[in-house]
């Protein structure tokens, strides 16, 4: 079954090894939500997906993929 996957962990690492807490604060969610996203246990809303992409200054397709 197709599912939404993401590169958040890699993007964090490439962005000065940003912590989950820092990303969470920048995106306006809890650290647990970022953790769940990285573990593919949570599919974000479109709004959160855009916020995360904006934090990394990349397009939404560079963060999330549907496969």
């Amino acid at each position: 079954m197709a599912e939404i996957t993401n590169n958040i962990r890699r993007l964090r690492f490439n962005n000065n090894e940003m912590t989950q807490a820092e990303l969470a604060k920048a995106a306006g969610v809890t650290r647990q939500t970022i953790s769940a996203l990285e573990a593919n246990r949570y599919s974000p809303s479109l709004e959160l997906a855009f916020k995360i992409a904006r934090v990394f200054n990349v397009s939404i397709m560079d963060v999330f993929s549907y496969e």
């Binding site: 306006g28 969610v29 809890t30 650290r31 647990q32 939500t33 769940a36 593919n40 246990r41 949570y42 599919s43 974000p44 809303s45 709004e47 959160l48």
Partner: protein
């Protein structure tokens, strides 16, 4: 299995709520079991137990609220809302089933006999009719069960669920 420190503030609060609910249920069951067999269901003794249990639950909820406010609960995000919505859905379903069962028990001469059991139900065969106190206890049990189910569902979704 996550330890207490690994759980988020919100998960700890839900776990504490669940512990309170289970403590209240345990207290109630313990008191009910301690009654003599010949205690009437409508007796003042039973009413007193229910009253004390309700007061205990209210005091526990107030203490819990004070503790949570002191710790400062982090604001809920979209995942928290989604998990809460799912848990409420499951709890609503359990409440619905529970209330239907209570209604079936109340009117067991009609619904339970003809539709649930396909003949005379055990209760009606025994000539047992539910009185107001039994109905109250059954409704309280249904409410408490759905609340416990809500908390357990939330904890499961936070720890292992895909939402």
């Amino acid at each position: 299995m996550a330890t207490w420190q690994q759980l988020s503030n919100r998960q700890q609060n839900i776990l504490a709520e669940l512990a309170l609910e289970i403590a209240v249920i345990a207290y109630f069951i313990n008191k009910i079991m301690g009654l003599n067999d010949d205690t009437a269901w409508g007796s003042a003794e039973l009413g007193w137990i229910i009253g004390k249990t309700v007061v205990l639950a209210i005091i526990g909820a107030i203490i819990m609220m004070v503790v949570i406010n002191r710790r400062g609960e982090e604001p809920a995000d979209e995942r928290d809302h989604r998990i809460a919505a799912r848990a409420h859905k499951v709890a609503y379903l359990s409440l619905y089933v529970g209330v239907c069962l209570v209604i079936a028990l109340i009117t067991n001469s009609h619904i339970a006999d003809n539709y649930l059991f396909g003949g005379p139900s055990y209760l009606s065969a025994q000539g047992i009719e539910m009185n107001y106190m039994q109905i109250l206890v059954a409704l309280l049990a249904t409410l408490t069960c759905s609340s416990v189910i809500k908390s357990v569902t939330q904890l499961y979704l936070y720890q292992w669920g895909r939402v």
